[in-house]
């Protein structure tokens, strides 16, 4: 059945059986997700659940090969799983269109899986899944790609480095379409809108939607109608190009009437600051009094509203004129290039105007250039390599061969030719605030009846009877940065969990307060309680309160050193040389969660010196540096 024969040949019967019985959760059904779901289903995995919040967008079709145009606006998870099911009629595969951060996906829900695979594109969700997997004691395979770079690693609480053992850059690379089109909240959202939507639609290659009627059906009629309306409106704008009113027409659509339409959806602005419409005539007269010269705008400071307006007006005319003079009759197109001043300034100006509309911080042209140039598209080849590696790691994890798992990087560097690098899984950072915690489950039958005081009393009771819980008398209880309880703060004791918003799925942290340096005392790391309902089998006779898991938590034993690969004895050791160190740089302006590997041949150098060497080869910025033994390399040797 399926590829079981091959797996049996290579890994033995037991591993093959585990592959076919393991229950997998795939979070994300986008670029990596499509490849991953295909690879998993073609590699003998039989039980797969996929969760993705997004719906399919036009721009996904070029690499997310399980999707087609008629699927636009349908849930990614559903369409991807349907394709996998169509191909493997016997497979037990399910889809959910949902945000993985929803409380429904609590510790109990995660616990039903043998392995979770992250194929996500945003840091926030990746962090969340990392934490829940730690709490649910489920291994996680983490992945990320950006352009030609990619990374895969395996996370198992207490045994390996977790997603947050080292700081990650905060910037995201891809965004939900509604954030970009309707509810931007950060400068990057406005830049993406200006570059990938407005600029592309006005000056990019023209798109003809006449064929879209072909696949119309009742189900997607509404979506298609909206899409068509948008396209028509933009086509009209493009027609105005060449007319002196071009800038006005564009401006009034995107900064006045579109904003008015958004404002009319009152629900959207209940919890958000509503946008402000801009007025063309008002700004035009204000701009007359300004000595701002749109031909040489200042690139380093943020623009004022009138400057942004003047620059918009100027560059819109310039770009329209360029298209006009390019060709007669048929309109040409301009693709965004950060080194094309008109294009960059247009994007900077419109992003700036949009930032004013939504009350978002302004960025300078310089920063816009960096951000716009940094929007690295995902590409099919890297996704294929990364997903392929994830599946190998998945086979190792479910067949309990953790020591054979690796962290792998797909890299591209013109100076060195090697595309896939790997290293043994690293040990957890001993002071990691996420994985160096004891994760226990707090089962509460009725959250409206149980008070925080009940929980604190229960913890005190447990601290007396259960030595290995290591909780003393003096404890604090917090949820994130919110203090719920400590010795001097008992206001919440009478409030029910429900009143405090401590729903199922939330996590509270309990820490000892009677020690100065908690981390230094063995076993005294804070305890994180995941709030859950009663166990299903206990449902008939629910306990009021129960904490489970503490007796199961292993000591934080270090991961045993990778055993020499029995099948392949000429393993990693042979590549190691003591004076060879790879410096892993988490570039702060780099791609999400993606560590870049830079190799510096060094003898016992300090981090400072390593940073200097890296800066010599062009790696800049605040970088955290880790050292790893790595394959000897005769190239790219750097000497002072």
């Amino acid at each position: 059945m399926r590829t079981t024969e091959q797996l049996t040949r290579i890994f033995g019967q037991e591993a093959a059986t585990r592959v076919s019985t393991a229950r997998l959760l795939v979070v994300g059904a986008g670029g990596i997700g499509c490849e991953l779901l295909k690879d998993l289903s073609m590699s003998g995995f039989q039980h797969i659940e996929a969760v993705d919040l997004d719906t399919i967008d036009l721009s996904n079709l070029n690499r997310q090969f399980l999707f087609q145009r008629r699927h636009i606006k349908r849930p990614k998870s559903e369409v991807a799983i349907q394709a996998i099911r169509d191909f493997n009629p016997g497979i037990d595969a399910h889809a959910r269109q949902a945000n993985i951060k929803e409380p429904t996906f609590d510790v109990d829900w995660f616990s039903q899986f043998d392995l979770v695979l992250n194929a996500l594109d945003n840091l926030e969700a990746r962090r969340h899944v990392n934490t829940v997997c730690l709490a649910a004691h489920v291994p996680l395979i983490e992945s990320g790609t950006a352009g030609y770079l990619g990374q895969v690693t395996v996370i198992k609480g207490g045994e390996t480095e977790c997603f947050e053992c080292h700081p990650k850059p905060v910037e995201r690379k891809t965004f939900p379409i509604c954030t970009i089109r309707s509810t931007p909240s950060a400068p990057i959202h406005c830049i993406v809108w200006a570059k990938n939507y407005l600029f592309a639609q006005l000056f990019g290659e023209r798109q003809d939607d006449e064929d879209m009627t072909a696949e119309e059906d009742a189900e997607n009629m509404e979506e298609l109608k909206q899409l068509r309306e948008e396209s028509t409106a933009l086509a009209k704008l493009a027609e105005a190009m060449g007319s002196p009113e071009f800038a006005r027409v564009v401006f009034e659509k995107v900064f006045s009437s579109d904003i008015a339409r958004l404002l009319s959806m009152a629900d959207m602005w209940k919890h958000r600051q509503p946008p402000t419409q801009l007025d063309y005539d008002e700004l035009e007269s204000a701009a007359l009094d300004s000595d701002f010269d749109p031909m040489s705008p200042g690139t380093h400071s943020a623009m004022s509203l009138t400057d942004a307006f003047a620059l918009f007006k100027y560059t819109a005319a310039r770009l329209a004129q360029r298209l006009d003079s390019d060709e007669q009759g048929t309109r040409g197109s301009i693709s965004f290039d950060k080194d094309d001043e008109d294009a960059l300034n247009f994007v900077a100006a419109t992003a700036s105007l949009r930032s004013y509309v939504f009350g978002i911080d302004q960025t300078s042209i310089f920063e816009t250039k960096a951000m716009a140039g940094n929007i690295i598209p995902a590409i099919a080849t890297t996704n294929a390599v990364v997903a392929g590696m994830m599946v190998t790691q998945a086979i190792m994890v479910v067949s309990e061969q953790m020591s054979r798992c690796h962290t792998a990087y797909v890299s591209y560097n013109s100076k060195r030719s090697r595309s896939v690098l790997s290293e043994p899984l690293a040990l957890p950072n001993p002071v990691c605030a996420v994985c160096r915690r004891r994760y226990l489950t707090l089962r509460v039958a009725d959250l409206s009846r149980t008070t925080l005081g009940d929980v604190v009393d229960y913890l005190h009771m447990l601290a007396e009877t259960e030595n290995n819980l290591y909780l003393g008398e003096d404890i604090s209880v917090v949820e994130g940065s919110r203090i719920l309880y400590d010795l001097d703060f008992e206001d919440n004791m009478e409030k029910s969990m429900e009143e405090l918003g401590l729903w199922r799925g939330r996590m509270i942290t309990v820490a000892r307060e009677d020690l100065d340096d908690v981390e230094s005392v063995a076993g005294t790391v804070p305890v994180v309680l995941s709030i859950a309902g009663p166990r299903v089998e206990d449902a008939s006779q629910p306990l009021d309160l129960d904490i489970e898991g503490f007796e199961l938590i292993p000591e934080f034993a270090p991961l045993p050193p990778p055993t020499p690969d029995e099948a392949v004895p000429n393993g990693d050791q042979l590549h190691f040389a003591d004076d060879d160190v790879a410096v892993v740089v988490d570039d702060s302006d780099g791609d999400e969660g993606l560590a870049t590997l830079h190799h510096v041949k060094v003898d016992n150098i300090s981090d400072e010196l390593a940073k200097r060497k890296l800066s010599d080869i062009g790696v800049r910025g605040e970088s955290s540096i880790k050292r790893r033994a790595v394959a000897t390399d005769d190239e790219a040797t750097i000497s002072e």
């Binding site: 590829t3 024969e5 091959q6 049996t8 040949r9 290579i10 295909k38 690879d39 073609m42 590699s43 036009l58 721009s59 079709l61 070029n62 690499r63 090969f65 087609q68 145009r69 008629r70 169509d86 191909f87 990938n196 592309a200 990019g204 290659e205 023209r206 798109q207 939607d209 064929d211 072909a214 380093h300 693709s335 960096a370 690295i376 598209p377 590409i379 080849t381 890297t382 294929a384 390599v385 997903a387 392929g388 190998t392 690796h406 792998a408 591209y412 013109s414 030719s417 595309s419 896939v420 690098l421 790997s422 099948a567 004895p569 990693d572 042979l574 590549h575 200097r612 010599d616 080869i617």
Partner: protein, 556 residues
């Protein structure tokens, strides 16, 4: 609903998708990774693929999605049960059909903009044919891929590609291992996207820069203005103060230390950001000009030094290199490559930054104009029309003058049938892939002798059954062949890793979908680099170890 049907439905809206692909492809897929010329090259490419198993299909998938122009799959294989299990583009009910046709149909439906066709003939037979159409099939391709082909086919293909200067990428698999190798006589890259450090020429400023530096007097600036002076100016002033500028001699370590100290004292307040940047810049920017080694080699390559031959005359790259050489020898250049005009990000006020940028841009424009006159002269001398190379291409070349790369490969047919390995086999040992590589070659030789791969039962009925005795005896044979191959290459002291040999035999040369998907990602990435002449392709053997999630490279 089977995938085929899914894909057919995709075909219904082909035209719409084509437009969607068109508008999204250029701008979104590779728009920020490849420049426009690369995208155009991709759309005009014709790729010829020998083989039609999962590795071929997965590689093609990654080429069809971004939109190569056309592909042809050559294979006479018939879909068997194994194919339906490992090849995503083959269905259970395709059994008995021509596999090449099945994958072409599935792949075409991914992107109706791409033309695909199948030639259902045996690769060996097609390569033996002297029919001009068969010869052209390979010779006129932009790129040829050989996926899981026997050595005899690879050698025949390599000879033909080598002669026609068509890049060939050969890839095959054995269980969790795969190997990839590119072969083409020579491959030039202009847009290498290399991170060459910016060239500020602070030690030897050109006249306009010299004047600008002299015009500015840091002593009259107040502390606010001082905090916004671009760091190159600070470094230049410090160099001048220590009389280190205009001198071709490199400052000594001692002098660099003095420079850093001096810059430190010049700061209005200690730790002012632009002065910190200036201190940091000393190492990189206070050294004499030198042409990057890779470019130097190209400029001194026999093909650049010797008068243009008929071959090089039609080759844009060599014509441009020849012009660059003339430029470098001219009095104007002072032996320095044309400036590309970009300056790095730095702390500065807008006015100062723009003034500095303008000076470098101006110089870059002058250099480019000078270079263009050399190109024009080369073209005239070669008897070619002035527009033989477009001004855009000249400009791109000029801008990338310090990023040029030239790769020369050994041929696959020399590697397999000739003795080129004797000179390079040591690299296999250094890269620790001697065993992997020897076992791939030994498996091929085993197959040539026994008519089956190691670990595969000769009797078709139990082909899928794992027979421990068979594996054990095949392992012994495989080790014997591999060790004799190693000795042939002059690696007498290296013996093959016996456990790895057993893994090869156990795998029965099977194809695993995820390994082929991963390898297909690597092969298609190399293919895109070769087709677009952007980024630097691997000039080496690449062994993929799926178990370790690692690829090894060894130059052979």
């Amino acid at each position: 609903m089977l995938l085929r049907e899914t894909l057919q439905k995709r075909g219904v809206d082909g035209a719409a998708q084509r437009r969607a692909a068109h508008s999204t492809r250029g701008n979104v897929v590779f728009g920020d990774v490849l420049t426009e010329s690369g995208q155009t090259a991709l759309e005009g490419a014709r790729v010829c693929v020998f083989g039609s198993t999962a590795l071929a299909a997965e590689t093609l998938k990654n080429l069809v999605l971004p939109g190569i122009g056309e592909f042809v799959v050559v294979d006479d294989g018939v879909v068997g049960e194994q194919d339906t299990l490992t090849n995503f583009f083959v269905q259970t009910d395709d059994q008995g059909k021509m596999r090449a046709e099945c994958i072409v149909q599935g792949l075409c439906e991914l992107n109706p903009d791409v033309r695909g066709s199948a030639v259902t003939r045996s690769p060996a037979e097609l390569l033996a044919s002297s029919d001009p159409a068969d010869i052209q099939l390979v010779a006129s391709a932009t790129l040829v891929l050989a996926c899981g082909q026997p050595e005899s086919v690879i050698c025949a293909l390599s000879r033909r590609c080598w002669q026609a200067h068509v890049p060939l990428v050969a890839a095959d698999y054995a269980g969790f291992y795969a190997r990839v190798r590119t072969s083409i006589p020579e491959h030039a890259v202009v847009e290498s996207h290399a991170d060459t450090p910016s060239d500020l020429r602070l030690l030897t400023p050109f006249p306009a820069l010299r004047n600008y530096i002299d015009e500015i007097d840091l002593d009259v600036l107040d502390s606010t203005d001082l905090a916004h002076v671009p760091y190159p100016l600070i470094v230049a002033k410090a160099l001048k103060a220590l009389s280190l500028d205009g001198d071709a001699a490199a400052p000594t370590i001692q002098q660099k230390r003095e420079l850093r100290d001096l810059i430190g004292t010049m700061a209005p307040v200690p730790g002012e950001e632009n002065f910190v940047q200036a201190v940091d810049a000393v190492t990189q920017h206070c050294k004499p000009y030198s042409t990057p080694d890779a470019v130097d080699e190209i400029l001194n390559d026999p093909a650049a030094v010797a008068p243009l031959t008929d071959d090089t005359k039609v080759d844009h790259f060599w014509l441009l290199v020849s012009a660059l050489r003339a430029y470098m020898l001219s009095d104007y250049s002072l032996g320095m490559l044309p400036l590309n005009g970009s300056i790095p990000d730095m702390k500065a006020d807008t006015k100062g930054y723009i003034a500095l940028q303008r000076i470098y841009k101006q110089k870059a424009a002058e250099d480019a104009a000078q270079f263009a006159t050399h190109v024009a002269r080369e073209l005239t001398d070669a008897g070619l029309p002035a527009d033989f190379i477009s001004s855009d291409e000249v400009a791109v070349f000029c801008r990338n003058a310090s990023n040029l790369r030239l790769l020369r490969f050994t041929s696959l047919h020399d590697e397999i049938e000739g003795d080129s390995l004797c000179a390079t086999a040591e690299n296999l040992v250094v890269a620790d892939v001697a065993s992997h590589y020897a076992l791939f070659r030994a498996s091929a030789r085993f197959e040539a002798v026994h008519g089956r791969y190691p670990g595969v039962s000769a009797s078709p009925n139990d082909a899928e059954m794992l027979d421990d005795e068979l594996v054990a005896s095949d392992t012994v044979k495989l080790i014997g062949i591999a060790n004799s191959l190693l000795a042939e290459w002059g690696l007498e002291s290296t013996t093959v890793d016996e456990n790895l040999a057993m893994e090869f035999a156990r795998s029965g040369h099977c194809e695993l979908h995820n390994i082929s998907s991963m390898t297909g990602g690597i092969v298609s990435q190399e293919a895109i680099k070769l087709i677009t002449h952007q980024y630097v392709p691997e000039n080496s053997l690449c062994i993929v170890d799926g178990v370790k999630a690692k690829s090894y490279v060894a130059k052979i």
